[in-house]
Structures are given as C-alpha cells and as structure tokens.
C-alpha cells in the first residue's frame, strides 16, 4: 500500500480531487478502467489497443492507489505510474487477484465506470470484488473522472495549445500543395506526414478530407476521389502533443466560389462568431448549442446542421462537456471546447468551421491563432 503523498504532481492533486468527489458521493473507492482517465490520474501511458482490450486499471481509495496491468506493461507501470502499487497479474486477473485482496479491505463502496466497463468485465470484477468482501457494494458511476478532467489545468492547456498550433501549421503547408487531380486519400496522407514533420506525437483522429458531394457527410472517410475546381473541400484533423489532442475544421473552395458556397459559408462563419461571442462559464451546454443552432435555423438550414455545436477536447478528442441540444451540463472556467457549426447539403457538399476555445469566468478565449476565413 502506497501513501498518497508519494504520488508526484500533477497526479497527486488530481487524485485528491477525485477522493473528494468520492467522499461527496459516500463512496470509498473507484475502479478506473477508462484509458484516458487512467493516464490522467497516474501517468500510465499505454492505451487500449482495441475496444475490449484493456492495458490495465486503477483502484483508488483513501490512502490506496493500485495500478493493475499484465506483464506486457510491467516496465511502463513502474516507470510511469509513480507512487502506485504495481499489481502485475502474471497468472491472469482472476488467479492473481488474491495478491491485492488484503489491500482492498478498507473499501466498502467501490464505484466503477459504467460507460467504460463492458458488461462481461463488469461481471468479472463484480465476482472478484464480492469474493473479497461480502458486504462490499459495487456501484455504477457515470463519467465521474471525466467531469474532473473537463476543467483543464495550466499544464494541460499549454499542451492543447501546442497541439493546435502544430495542426494550424500543418494546414498551412497542406493548402500550399493543393492541386486538381490529387485524391482525398493523398491529401489525408500529406496531413499525416506534416503532423509527423512538425513534431506532433500522433493523430488525434484519422483526418477527414471530403471534396464536393463527399463533404455532405460530416464524418466522411477520405476516398480515391480527385479534387477539382468549383467544389468545396472540407478538412477536419488534429495533431496530438504529449497525449493532448487538437481538433480543427476548415472548408475551402477550390476555384471561384459559387453563390451557394458563399451563402452557406457566410452563414456558418456568422454562426461560429455568434457562438464564440456568447459562450462562457455559467451557460449550460444546451444553451451554448442553441446560440448557434438558432442562427442556422432562422435561415432555414436547421435540418442540415446534423451534429452538436461542439465537444470538450483533452486527452481524448471527444470528451466532456458535450455541446449538444440535449446536454444539460454547466460550462465552467478551464474547459476547452470546440465550436464547429456545419451545414451539409446532400448531393452538393458541406461547410464546417471549427475553432477551439477556452472557457473563462467571463466569456471564452479562442485558442486558434490562424483566423483567416473567407469574407464574402
């Protein structure tokens, strides 16, 4: 068992915040299985390589911090998760469990991450934990650590800004080499190449490059389609830096913009500006979404704005808060969110413009340095 004090900054502060949250909910411990939460609280970097494939978990309680992982990650566990008791399940999770049984005694009400644990693994842990202490309660907690993660500290904001700045540099390079006849896939590849050259430590997500009618699909995968003049091209991509993500969408028109493009683009940009101006701490996420949606609806394009206004960005590309019409959360200082209105017209194409903003006590600060938009 490891005393809390031996966990180094910034993890110690985060664990203490979590312990307070648990106390407020009359919980005495939590099983953390969500990979970004694991890293956020311990520094343990291995990701989960596939859905349903876990690199490990944390168990955190008062005076207790365990990192469980299999032997493949033994070295990482010791090097990265300082202050955590390394539970390496050499004989498989079930057979090795008795090694930590004793440590768990003080935890009577253990939370688990209901949005992260699959039903099968939930049952496995439930059995193990019940075997351990008959009276123990195993209770679902929905996005408890995510709520803490939503408000970023200074270190995190610096990392996000750096990731976004790399992404903006990449976009400038990619624009320089756009030529008719290049395929969406080739351009997507160049984005990856530039992210590598500019020092990003990976992709926040697979780049979207969607030209012409493909831009009508908000999450289009790049195809072999060649870009040509007289069409919109929608870009959406992001670099990571030290684990933190960025997320940028821009739409350009190749050749001389048509009237329809001008109309749609201007409306999307105006919507974005309205949202950037109106958003800030104290607003609900649904109200933030409404700021934007009302502008688009007024012009009759409401049903073509097919997604939420935005989402939190941090260790994950999509994290809390979600800025959708039904999201009831409150915006708080330190949250970093995207503002990305979009209009998608089947058969023609689409326009999405996405910035990242830092929510402040009053209003919000746009984190994008590059503010070159068309003005029609």
């Amino acid at each position: 068992m490891i005393k809390k004090l031996s966990i180094p900054a910034p993890y110690q502060g985060r664990v203490l915040r979590l312990l307070n949250e648990l106390k407020d909910r009359s919980l005495s411990g939590i099983l953390v299985s969500q990979p970004e939460n694991r890293r956020y609280l311990s520094g343990f970097e291995p990701t989960d390589p596939q859905l349903n494939e876990s690199s490990g978990f944390l168990i955190i309680g008062k005076g207790l911090a365990i990192l469980g992982t299999d032997p493949r990650f033994e070295v990482e566990a010791q090097k990265e998760a300082k202050g955590y008791f390394p539970f390496i399940y050499r004989k498989g999770l079930e057979s090795s469990w008795p090694e930590i049984k004793g440590l768990l005694k003080p935890i009577k009400k253990m939370a688990f991450e209901s949005h992260s644990l699959n039903f099968y693994t939930f049952q496995k842990f439930k059995k193990l934990i019940r075997y351990q202490v008959n009276s123990l309660l195993f209770l679902p907690a929905y996005q408890l650590v995510e709520e803490i993660r939503a408000q970023k500290d200074r270190l995190e904001i610096t990392a996000i800004r750096r990731a976004l700045s790399i992404t903006e540099e990449v976009f400038r390079e990619v624009l320089k080499t756009l030529r008719p006849g290049k395929t969406e896939k080739e351009i997507a590849w160049q984005i990856k190449h530039w992210i590598h050259l500019k020092g990003g430590d990976g992709l926040a997500f697979e780049p979207i490059v969607a030209s012409g009618p493909n831009a009508a699909r908000p999450h289009a995968e790049p195809t072999e389609r060649e870009i040509k003049k007289g069409e919109p091209i929608l870009f959406d991509f992001g670099s990571k830096w030290k684990g933190y993500c960025s997320d940028l969408s821009r739409t350009v028109f190749f050749g001389r913009p048509t009237d329809r493009f001008k109309e749609v683009y201007s409306l999307v940009r105006q919507t974005q500006l309205q949202a950037e101006k109106g958003i800030g701490a104290g607003l609900t996420t649904a109200a933030a979404d409404a700021l934007a949606r009302s502008v688009i609806e007024k012009e009759g394009y409401g049903k073509f704005f097919k997604h939420s206004l935005g989402h939190g960005v941090g260790l994950a590309t999509h994290e809390l808060p979600s800025l959708g019409p039904n999201s009831p959360n409150l915006l708080k200082p330190g949250m970093v969110v995207t503002i990305e209105p979009g209009i998608y017209l089947p058969g023609w194409g689409g326009v999405r413009l996405e910035n990242m903003v830092l929510i402040q006590k009053k209003g919000a600060k746009v984190l994008n340095k590059d503010q070159s938009f068309y003005r029609f």
Copy 2:
C-alpha cells in the same frame, strides 16, 4: 422490415449462419454493437472513433435486419448496408426508438454482446427494449459473432494475404534504409509511409520499433532512442487491406550478432517452427500454446515468454481464437492465427518472430512468403 433474401453476398450467408447459431441457443434476435461484427454482417464500414463512441448497431432476427445509426452516417448506412432497414435516430436513440418498436415484436429473447456493450449502454438498451415488450428477455452472449468470424471464407483469406504481402514488402524497404542514429520514431514513421506507398488502406495497429533494452517490452511504443550497432531491434507492425489486418514481427541484430542474441534468436525460431509444424484443426488453443511454451520452458526461458503464442487476425488485429495457455477453444479449418513466440530479457532486449498461418483440416499453411531468418 426487410426480407433476408435482399441482403447481398457475402453478408447474407453470414447472417444465415448467425441465425442458425441463435436458433441453437433458443434466441430469437441479437443486438450487434461490436464494430467489426457490424461490418462483417452488414458491410457498414464506419468504425467506432473512440471507446464509448458508437457509430451504430444492428438488430438481427428471423426476417429482420435493422441498422441503427445517427444522422452523421446516414449516407454510409444506405450505401453500404444493403438490405438492412436504416433506422436513423435523428432525435437521439431514446426519442427515435418508437420508429422501430413495432418491428421488434417477433423477438422475444434478444441477445446482446456482453464483451462489447458497456454497462451504461446496456442499461439504456435494456430499458428501451423492456418498454417495447414487457415479456422480452435481454441476455448476454459472449463473442457469438466473433466465433463465426474466426473461420474465414475465401474472400477474407485473399484480403488477409494481400495485407500480409504489403506488410512484407514494407519490411524489405525499411530494412534497406536502417542506419545507426535513426530513432525508433523515425523508423516507425517510415513504416507508415511505406504502408501508404504500397497501397495498404491503413495500419492494423501502431507500429512497434524497439531497440536494445526497449525490445524487452513486448508492446513498446517507439521512442526518440537512436538505433546503434550491437543491439537487437524488434519490429511488429501490419498493414490493412479492404478492412482486413496483417501482423508481422521480426527481430534483427544491427552489427555482428552477439552470442546471447544467437542463442535467444535460435531458440525463438526453433519454437516457432515447432509450433508451425504441430498446429492444425482439432488441436485446442491451449495445446497449441503448449507446443511452443514447452520448447522455451525446457531451455529455462519460460518466465521471459510473457504473452500468448498468438491470436486470430481478420477485421480486427486481435480476434478469436486466442492461443494462450488458458484458452480452451478448438482450432478449426479456415482460422487465421499468428504464431509469435518471444523472449524478453529486462535490461538487454528481446526477440519475437511472428508469422501468420491458415489452419487447415490437416496441419496449417504459413501465409508469409518471406521466410528469411537468421541461421546461426
């Protein structure tokens, strides 16, 4: 509601196989949430961009095939999942649910994928489905579709071979340009670049390039460490082709091999050959693992072989069957598995050699065309 017959090949045959499996288990339907299973049964390609972020689900029963997805994937749903009834939940899953309520009437016992559905989503569906038919049962099914997927058809085997062949070409290119002073990260990047140039449609997983002591970590992430003479370098990477994965590990020694390297490498290679010779339909996966583990244990390296002998490969890099010491499944013709023994010595490095084999009625066929190994 869509008749089964309107689902095109190869999906129709797969759906019929699934319906038979359901019947054998007295189930009348299944909710398919696992992304590769979704694609396997319907052709719907969108992946789940993050853990806990779903692009949709299938509901399959007798005479019933529904693809549920949100408006972002409306176009893909119609284009890719032919023969499926597209349920686009425009108002969110809960509010839109009444649109398919009626269709579900014939399903009295609905399975869900317990390894894929998180606890939170499980509860959400349980509520929706109970609301629909009070008497309906919602039952966990563990890797039911995965078991069907484990035995590949001819189309799938062709795609896997093509993916592996691209991966082998890439490895040859990368070997040509190894130079002291290159970092693991640079080499990992070149692997990605060559996969792109050789026509792979993406990475099966993030490449591993681990030099010297880093090779002692089976799942090392590439670092800024420079490769140098007198050390092993462990490679593990794979290209995709038409959605299908490949997986290749090789270890090379940079400079003149040391005696220790020769000893460890020869043992790993001998182990691999033994396993390739002994494996085949009718063997249990645990027995297959034992074929290899016994060779390594006899030489006293047992505790340094830190993972299973191998795993199935298909639409996912890691899928059924798992070839571990505790895996009780039976090997069947048409399964494609890796054979990848490894020895990892802390402080020194490691050796892993990985081939892919196709299980046949008698024995197995090695799918790797490139069989250049050191012979000491």
